[in-house]
Amino acid sequence: MSVQGDIAPGYESEEGEGREGIREGVRSYLLGLALAIALTLASFAVARTHIIYGPGIPVALVALAVAQMGIHLVFFLHITTAPDNTNNVLALAFGVLIVFVLVFGTVWVMAHMNHNMVPMQDMTGIQ
């Protein structure tokens, strides 16, 4: 412990990770790849199927997309709950908030504006 206490902040060893890191790393990426492939296939299947109630298909596609993004974040970008990842998770949470406000806010406001607009044929009458 005392030897570690003398290490300068931000110190990293020059040597690579141990050999046992390979198996662990490859297995993690393979698991992420398998889950991503499964969700992608599910998305394409849902888009073509007639089993699901038609208007429910976009909802299912959004759910599958969000799930796959989560898989990518955890297995490929390594955004985890580890202590040195707290800042990344907080920044991501803020980003997700902004994305939701931006996308849903825009769609909501614009849908209402379309709904409340005077139809084109009435416009010609006013002029």
């Binding site: 206490g5 003398d6 931000g10 990293e12 596609l61 997309a65 202590p83 040195d84 806010g105």
Partner: protein
């Protein structure tokens, strides 16, 4: 910088003690973590920019101005191939990360070549799709829907193009300078960039192509 959990005179409470950075008790975080955090902030701002393009597309998708709708122009097979290429490319990029961690020049370069080739194939399919649309007169000037579509998907394509240039630069740097620490930080940023582009593509193929084919 309050190390509440540790008594003031404990040997581990000084600056040099580097356990659990990010909770205020371990002194400054490792440079690798600070670099990744800074680049992650950029990536999130990039994602927010894409979300604005998604919002514009969602609003303008019905505005076809007498031109073709999403249902008529999207080719599911082309999208499937593009998706497969980008996912495999992302996986190859992950393999390259492991090879870099192992300081294996051979496997680093092999993985990066595969990453780049798959990204290039993706780009070819996207350009083929764009070219076919423009040749039929359904270019970005035809309708608001097509403008929004070309902007959103084209912006992702430009990111992929920039990523391919960066990838080539990284291969040259690994070859010429070896596994120096600063080169590894650059590669870490590249891999974050490449994986994030795959995440944005997941949103594009699901929300633009697959939802579009069902409208």
């Amino acid at each position: 910088m309050n190390s509440v959990a540790l008594p003031a005179d404990s040997p581990g409470s000084g600056h040099a003690h580097s356990h659990a950075p990010g909770h205020g008790a371990g002194g400054p975080a490792a440079k690798r973590i600070v670099v990744a955090y800074g680049f992650w902030i950029y990536l999130i701002s990039d994602i927010i920019m894409f979300s604005a393009l998604f919002a514009a597309y969602a609003v303008l998708a019905p505005a076809t101005a007498g031109g073709p709708s999403a249902r008529q122009i999207f080719d599911p097979n082309s999208v499937a191939i593009e998706t497969a290429c980008l996912l495999a490319s992302s996986f190859a990029c992950g393999m390259a990360s492991i090879a870099v961690g192992q300081r294996s020049m051979k496997w680093t370069q092999i993985s990066l070549v595969i990453t780049g080739l798959l990204g290039f194939v993706f780009l070819l399919f996207e350009l083929r799709e764009f070219h076919a649309l423009v040749a039929r007169g359904d270019g970005p000037t035809h309708s608001a829907f097509l403008s929004a579509f070309f902007t959103l998907v084209g912006c992702h394509g430009l990111h992929i193009t920039a990523g391919l240039l960066w990838l080539g630069t990284m291969m040259a740097q690994f070859y010429a300078k070896g596994f120096r620490r600063d080169i590894q930080y650059r590669y870490m940023c590249f891999s974050l960039f490449w994986h994030t582009l795959d995440i944005i593509w997941v949103a594009i193929f699901s929300l633009v192509y697959l939802v579009g084919m069902n409208l």
